[in-house]
Symmetry: D2
Subunit: 319 residues, 4 copies
């Protein structure tokens, strides 16, 4: 496809395993151009995130995608959750096996400035896909109040709809890592916002058998998948009642590059709780029938996926 007619996106990520898979998905689609990848602290610290992005690009043969460094910590809170969910290196413990070659940051320009600049250059054409804490994107909004107005769409993996938490008791990791940033975007965004919430991703866990099969694919990308997912699979299989692997960021990227994976999405008015002692970072959805129709802060929440289509995409991506 000709460059000029491609869709364009920036991926903002705290590159763990599912972020890496999401990047792989994005660069596998010829009708999309990834303008750059902006990095944010999250699963691991900022430097490790940058490294993980670069090693993913190397495996995918996409050395030309510029990588930028963003925020080291949340807008306000110090609640750096860290997490060894994706192992200490955020890359399933196999980071050292995948070199970053001579890849470097494109420039010292801060991710938030990059986002502001690209949104202005590609007014109404740029899709921002947020796969980590929303700090970089919120700072962009503070640097330029027109930032989101300049976007085509903001797609967010994050938040929850039923008060189910992964990191915290009642909040999803990305939102819990920077509740204020999430709130700024949900409240102020002047472009369409699509949210892929935690519980919906969990509903479509990849089961052990399917994973076994998938991970046998004998290609460079398949090899990365095989190695990178081993830690998470072992971890998940040891949790009683856990019936599969959750690759949330990968699902979010599928929504971007192939909207047909969405079976149902709801337009809802949502908020982020900033003050709870138990619920800080929780996404709160207005669901009272007596409050319809919603007219402010509306976002589209993906509620159901076409799992067959998803699995097909996952297989194809690593060929």
């Amino acid at each position: 496809m000709e460059e000029a007619s491609k869709n364009i996106m920036v991926i903002d990520t705290d590159c763990g395993v599912d972020d890496a898979l999401a990047i792989m998905m994005a660069v596998s689609h010829d009708d999309w151009k990834v303008l750059c990848i902006t990095c944010c602290y999250g699963n691991v610290n900022l430097n490790q995130v940058c490294q993980n992005v670069m090693r993913t690009l190397v495996v995918c043969g996409k050395h030309e995608v510029p990588v930028y460094k963003g925020c080291e910590k949340a807008l306000v809170s110090n609640e750096l959750l860290g997490s060894d969910y994706h192992s200490k290196d955020g890359f399933g413990g196999v980071a050292s096996e995948f070199p970053t070659d001579c890849l470097q940051l494109a420039s010292p320009e801060h991710a938030s400035n990059v986002l502001v600049r690209l949104a202005r250059e590609h007014r109404k054409h740029l899709v921002v896909v947020a796969l980590g804490p929303l700090t970089n994107i919120a700072v962009a909004q503070r640097l330029d109040p027109e930032f989101t107005k300049n976007l085509k769409e903001l797609v967010i993996m994050g938040g929850n709809i039923n008060g189910f938490g992964n990191s915290y008791l009642a909040a999803e990791f990305n939102f819990a890592s920077d509740p204020e940033a999430a709130n700024i975007l949900l409240k102020e965004a002047e472009c369409p916002v699509t949210v892929i919430p935690l519980e919906v991703c969990h509903k479509y866990a990849l089961d052990w058998n399917w994973l076994d099969d998938w991970r046998k694919t004998d290609t460079p990308r398949g090899y990365l998948v095989q190695k990178m997912t081993e830690h998470s699979i072992n971890r998940a299989r040891n949790i009683p009642g856990c019936n599969g692997l959750h690759l949330c960021d990968l699902f979010a990227m599928c929504v971007v590059v192939n909207p047909r994976v969405i079976v149902k999405k709801d337009e809802k008015c949502v908020y982020v709780e900033l003050n709870g002692q138990l619920t800080r970072g929780m996404m709160v959805v207005e669901r009272r029938l007596t409050h319809l129709p919603y007219v402010t802060n509306n976002v589209f929440i993906v509620m159901e996926f076409n799992k067959t289509e998803l699995l097909k995409m996952f297989k194809k991506m690593i060929l």
Copy 2:
């Protein structure tokens, strides 16, 4: 059944329409003795609540059940929600048609003192059924730290499990009316606690046809049902997307007098959010598989009902 072998309960209520139906259900079961009814502010103010309880007892021919007055407001907050959900009189707007005869408060003894006294007198035999804000019961716990230890069981209509709210955005009315009281009981109760949450009640809405049929029953109790529910039904039918009437307190009472209506109940660790700006009063359920097994603050949450059994009970109750 002989008095001595009966099960015994106290009903604590903010008597609206579904509370009245719950009282009717309770006094219809010969194997249960209602020791007394304690009144709490809530749907309407405290005096109106007392009146509504009395007029319900009159219709049911149970003049002998003592009625006591409790708290006028929440333990801490001033968030008296009031609500015309059950109309201004809390009784579907028909309160004036159902006289309270010469019924009087049994004595000026405060509901919380009554609860403490009866729990001591019937150590480990008394079931307390809470159908309103939990203020009276929390004050009882402060007056006697052994109060809940002396109970057989505490059954609570209240709270929510998925952050769905009726009064507030993310909280159920009874818990939202006095979050601190709810929290005290969920945290400190030393007897088994059974919670009938909002969303589960909503799942078993009574549909318009069934209601039409039910409300034709030509008995004194049937007449009360017919008159009392009219307001709520009209209100609910006008809400787009609303597919039936929710009679939460009635469901909770069925759980007490006939545990066979429970198809599924989960033992969970729960909390109440006290500080959120959006989620104050929300019941927060620990659901992370990684946090199993739960060992503190556990309660039984009724998750599924046998609707056939419920409907049978509702029909029989008014004959």
Copy 3:
């Protein structure tokens, strides 16, 4: 003085050293009758508090003053601060040297019920002097919304005016122990309320020389003072910059039995912060000139003492 013409008070206390001195001060005034002493958790646990009250009454030869037990914990929070400020026994570590004789609780009646009862019996004549967390008194207000309306005055040792804290960073111990109870009374009280705040008490520290002299008084009460204060004095002398002993509750009692000790009191609108992460329990005083005149929630705050008068009272009390 004839019984009938005496002023009457109830002392609500978490009996530490300065509470014991306050009780001694109260029973030393022939024109005042202490109707009873109600006990609250606080400096030490509730049972220890009751014991400390009784041993103080024994030393003072006032076996006839009834003692009642109240709340074991705060209305809402679990922030039992405990404190070895007055040593582990709350009595300067010398509790065991002062027997309680055969003193018993007057009856199992709960302190809050006692307060409600006495306020009704002595409508508009009873002064309640609060020397600990305000839990018992707040529960009384919930048991009877007319409770404070029935009082002549409520005198509270507690709160702060400049955000200076003793227990917490920015809150005074009694208020920090039960912020909600303090708030209920400051917001709902329908009788005059006089507050003796922390900073004002600290301004009138008793210096080491004066204390040395005072503690040499060779009387039974003097002996109790000598023994009981030793721990606090040793503790305070070791704090760099500390220039004397603070006996807050004793100051508060002087205000009750001899209003001439007050040189200045301000009428102010005050609140209690319930939600701060740093300031929970802080008393917040409206001081903006632009908000004058204050018309709601007004209390009298004692701002300046006549120290000469105070010291004279302290000396006389132990003769």
Copy 4:
């Protein structure tokens, strides 16, 4: 003085009347060079702030000082206080009388980026003087975690020490406008921080007589002072109990250009309350003797001024 040997500062301001006077003070000192002025929303909206800065520079004949635009709103909160404290135009209602000539923004570079850039260019030499909400400076810290480490000093007019508020009940305007930004800087700053708090400024109010005299100075700057302060003086004289004008930002600038005005400063550990319902934005000072010595989050708080020196500076500034 030679350019190279001058001290250098950036002024970050929400230019109201006292900010304008502070700017005048800064540019009056030949041993200081004002590298630029960065603008922040606050007393008035961002555009008005920029205009007010420019008209002040014009009166002072300092057209060459670059002016940059920063944030339009707080990092997180929406609590845009606005205020007509300095009248609607933030300039005492006389803005229109003082043209901005053809002054323009130096470039569209965002204030926070400018701050980051200058701090890097003048490592350890730049003093930032913050006279408004701290949003621009906090965003700079997020754009570059080394930002404050690169500064020589951060001087902040803002915060309070005794819970006295001007805008809010218990918080000072600049901190209350963006509590999170204030907190970020007080917690994270790696350079010396000097705070000039509200109550200390208020202690040195300029009395009416002195002001009358001052405002008669017949110079261009004197004329600006005369016109600009009239609104505030009239306002203040009508507040019962108000005994003079408070020119907080001007005092803060004196601290920068002439440290001899400081008679007493304390090194303290401070925090900002982010969560209170009454105290949000309050600066909380650790003052418990038992917590000495302070070792974290220390700042220097100016506690006493040499008023004679201050008044001398004020007179000289407008000659």
